[in-house]
Symmetry: C2
Subunit: 109 residues, 2 copies
Amino acid sequence: MNASVVRPADAVLRDLGGGVSRRVLAHTDDIMIVEVHFEAGSVGAPHTHPHAQATRVLSGEFVFTVDGKDVTVREGDTLAFPSNILHGTRCVKPGVLLDIFSPMRTDFL
Amino acid sequence: MNASVVRPADAVLRDLGGGVSRRVLAHTDDIMIVEVHFEAGSVGAPHTHPHAQATRVLSGEFVFTVDGKDVTVREGDTLAFPSNILHGTRCVKPGVLLDIFSPMRTDFL
């Protein structure tokens, strides 16, 4: 698979409902960058997946619950989770998360 | 391995010389987020690695050369490379790249 270059204007921001929208950015089979936009009070319900995940807070304020523990994160903060760990988030101040998955999330395409 | 949460102030920005500095952020065995700061004119020399890589341009302007092709990228643009592909970058306007590797780069610790 070739290298992938994606500019925000080239990617559709898809409304997922509940104040959350998602834009899939550059990806190969092995890795995928995704932007997730949250309105204040919106949630990413607790879930698991076999993909490794890393997240960078681009803006806003979020409370993450990872493996039963809460942590408040803001712009510039980063998280990384092992595969299959239960995690979710609640948006305190509207903002954008940059989520990276390995391998890619075929379910997002 | 537990989840990792890293705030920028908790991570040392290491001077690599040549106008480039690097800060390792959240990581697990499977995935690692790294910030790389570039002064104008500085370069990331062409190289390969077995890790999958994704990059988000946080600020500035860069010319990436990936597998022999040049592409100019700016804030918000994203790239993803297959493993072992030759890639390098030249900073046109000073800025910061967010590089994500899978698995983690043990050579960065």
